[in-house]
């Protein structure tokens, strides 16, 4: 399940399940969004991006959905694997600046 508190929101899933990580972004003028994955002790790594003129984009095992009406972004991971365990951040930019503002992050824990 998902929990929010003083610690990072956490999503626990079983290996093979599909995972959905949610992000509420803050700026209605944001026009470009990126999802990053951060493994323990490492820097964030790019997963997938989407522009505001799209509402869905697919990559390898990942799909990003954008709902501009409610300023909501989600990352769907198909057939989640233990190697997907990490913290996932959404980031937004606006005005073509490409200088991102990061969300707080969600910790994904995949149980074998």
């Amino acid at each position: 399940g998902e929990s929010v508190g003083l610690h990072l929101p956490t999503l626990s899933v079983q290996e093979g399940d599909n995972s959905i990580i949610n992000c509420a972004y803050s700026n209605s003028a944001s026009d470009y969004f990126i999802w990053y994955k951060q493994e323990s002790g490492k820097g964030p790594q790019f997963i997938i991006d989407i522009r505001s003129n799209m509402d869905k984009r697919q990559g390898q095992r990942v799909t990003v959905l954008l709902n501009k009406t409610v300023k909501h972004l989600s990352l769907q991971i198909a057939a989640t694997q233990p190697g997907d365990s990490a913290v996932y951040f959404c980031a937004e930019t606006f005005g073509g600046s490409y200088i991102p503002t990061f969300g707080r992050g969600t910790s994904l824990i995949v149980h074998p």
């Binding site: 470009y32 820097g43 200088i99």
Partner: protein, 114 residues
């Protein structure tokens, strides 16, 4: 290619000491960034640079300084270390003008101020 390289990986400072976190990238990226990451939080932008000789403040610049004399290097200076600067610092770079805003991050520098 090494990508983005940060040094040191770990450092302990006493209150009031100064130090410089080094960052270099070998991808010929024009944009470079410094973020800090506190436990359980996202990344906060400290400073960024859009090219050699040009720097600008981010969300949390107080207590830090930067310079960008070359395309490759973007050092972050802490002049009078305070416990509030205990954090993990990430340097990143990106190539503006490409059809992507992907940032490439270093491995991070963990700083403790006692």
């Amino acid at each position: 290619n090494a990508g983005v390289t940060q040094t040191p990986k770990f450092r302990i400072l006493k209150i009031g000491q100064s130090m410089t976190l080094q960052c270099t990238q070998d991808m010929n990226h024009n944009y470079m960034y410094w973020y800090r990451q506190d436990p359980g939080m996202g990344l906060k932008l400290i400073y960024y640079s859009v090219g050699a000789g040009i720097t600008d403040k981010g969300e949390v610049p107080n207590g830090y300084n930067v310079s960008r004399s070359t395309t490759e290097d973007f050092p972050l200076r802490l002049e009078l270390a305070a416990p509030s600067q205990t954090s993990v610092y990430f340097c990143a770079s990106s190539r503006q003008g490409a059809n992507t805003g992907e940032l490439f991050f270093g491995e991070g520098s963990r700083l403790t101020v006692l």
